[in-house]
């Protein structure tokens, strides 16, 4: 019997095995299909950060401009007090932003909004939370002159730069066809050129978008799926996972006034259109995990909490704890490779350099 029954048993086992293999193949194929669908959907919605420096409108990014712009970015003597540089509020060591909630400027005044990151800012549709500067060269002129930030004037900047021959030489090299290159415009263009190199490619999510299905783990993929299906990606999309368009903060429910102070009307101050009240540029989420606190008001210190707030006030969605964790895991996959920056040795002030002024 044993021998007789053996063959059918073996056959059965073979049959079961075949069926199992087939079933697993169907399952795997189904999972693979779902994975492919997710990757395809992601590729339609987002774009990877390039590994080469992007072109900038009206401002070719040359080595000379980048080197000069780096010095200007780190030079506190651009400010009236002599202690605030671009890097003070856009600290490259802490995600391109400062400690927050909002920035401390000249005279220890608190600014009205959280400092946006300079990393990948070149990819945003426009600059500032309300998009009031069309590009980084326009943006760079703002904080320098804001009384609550660097409290300087274009004249102070130009006098400071002209007082140091090393700077004058660098401007001549960066703008070789101009007779008098030390201008406020060229100051801003140099900073824009430096900021154009502040891109952070090769995040796990970039590798995923480039076709590596293993660049994201299971939880990150679940988070990505949720991020798209819940509707986050309807505003946070494109190369910067945001930063491409303007939306009301509180689309379905008004956030608390600590998150959305009533005094700050957002983009309507720029467009003078009533419907733009409390409208802001969708925050670019590249490297978002590196720079709490969140929102323009900088009052939320946890990325998970920020995700929960956004789901509620923008999408009328109540995410479970697991769902929030999954989305946070996905957001962590947006942290790219930060460029290595050598701290610049700045030209030495001369007797014609404007003196620092700490008063208001």
């Amino acid at each position: 019997m044993i021998h007789i029954r053996k063959k059918p048993a073996v056959l059965e086992v073979h049959l079961v095995r075949k069926l199992c293999v087939a079933a697993i193949a169907i399952l795997v194929s189904s999972q693979a299909g779902a994975d492919d669908d997710l990757m395809n959907a992601a590729r339609r919605t987002f774009k990877p950060i390039p590994s080469v420096v992007p072109a900038v409108k009206d401002n070719p990014v040359t080595h000379e401009k980048v080197e000069l712009g780096k010095m200007l970015f780190f030079d506190p003597r651009i400010s009236a007090s002599g202690i605030i540089s671009c890097n003070t509020c856009h600290n490259l060591g802490t995600g391109g932003a400062d400690a927050g909630p909002t920035s401390i400027g000249h005279g220890w005044q608190l600014g009205p909004r959280r400092a946006p990151t300079v990393y990948n800012a070149v990819f945003n549709v426009a600059q500032f939370w309300d998009g009031r500067a069309p590009d980084l060269k326009a943006q760079a002129k703002g904080p320098v002159q804001a009384s609550v930030e660097m409290n300087a004037t274009p004249e102070h900047v130009i006098n400071t730069l002209n007082s140091m021959s090393d700077y004058v030489v660098m401007f001549k090299k960066a703008f070789p066809i101009e007779a008098s290159p030390v201008t406020f415009d060229n100051f801003a263009k140099s900073i824009e050129a430096f900021e154009a190199v502040l891109i952070t490619p090769a995040a796990p999510f970039d590798q995923y978008l480039e076709g590596d299905p293993n660049a994201l783990n299971v939880q990150q993929k679940a988070g990505l799926k949720l991020f798209m299906e819940t509707g986050c990606s309807s505003c946070h999309n494109g190369i910067n996972v945001g930063g491409q368009d303007y939306f009301p903060f509180g689309a379905v429910e008004r956030p608390s006034t600590s998150l959305l102070p009533t005094a700050d009307k957002g983009r309507s101050a720029v467009t003078k259109v009533a419907s733009d009240e409390y409208v802001f540029r969708a925050a670019p989420l590249r490297n978002v995990a590196l720079r709490p606190p969140y929102f323009h008001s900088g009052q939320v210190w946890s990325l998970k909490q920020a995700v929960g707030v956004m789901a509620e006030v923008q999408l009328d969605a109540k995410l479970s704890d697991k769902e929030q964790n999954d989305i946070v895991a996905f957001l962590n996959s947006l942290t790219g490779q930060l460029p290595k920056i050598e701290y610049p040795i700045l030209p030495t002030r001369t007797e014609t350099t404007p003196l620092p002024s700490t008063g208001k």
Copy 2:
């Protein structure tokens, strides 16, 4: 006649030539002797900056400590406000000091004295203008806690560091035999280790001290000679051309109160000895040309003017314009090669990191 007279004439010419050559040889030899004397005198008075990192007492300088110390040096979250780092006042881009006259700290308060440079500070006999800290590890604890500077507490520092696992791991690597290495002492030791690498070798003056007579030009040698003969080097000597001992500011004549404010009694506040009133550590003059303004009060913006003041109030000497220029030329030869520092990417704050506090 012409022919007859030719020979003696030729002989005469030869004789004159020989005499001239001999005379020039004597002059050259005399000049060479004077040059040798100057170099020998300089070598007895000063020492070159070494090109290797010096040993530090009770704190072996390891790669791990230096890397950690660099992060701590640049981390503004050490301060209560989250925006002031060691580098804010000891800016490595501007000679290791800030814009001056004195430093701006927490709440925009003005400190009482000019920030001393961190470059080559490891070679000073003690730290601060009054030498109240015996070494850099003791010094590093001061500004962190000073209400007019970073306004933090050891507890704030330790809580901040413990809240970020990357820091905890780095402390474990830097202090591998300690069970609980995240301490205020080790924080200070790490900063001291980083500051020990902030040395600036290979200045023209170092090359001169190493035996290259052409490393200084004629004016710089004249300035060096004056610097020693006028008496400057009786206080400003050794490896740091100063920083080795304490002397009254106004040894022969009291400087104006803008330069020597009466409220700041100098070292007597440390030693409680009346004769130490208005006594300060002789300023180390390495890289002095990189960091105006001068003196502890930071009211003199020109190195030449500073030289003139010192000659008058310390040495009762009235230097001519040329002599001042010569000494300034010599002081310019003290500018060495500054180390290249990669700007550190800092650990990301977590939900347990203390929040910044901008209030007083």
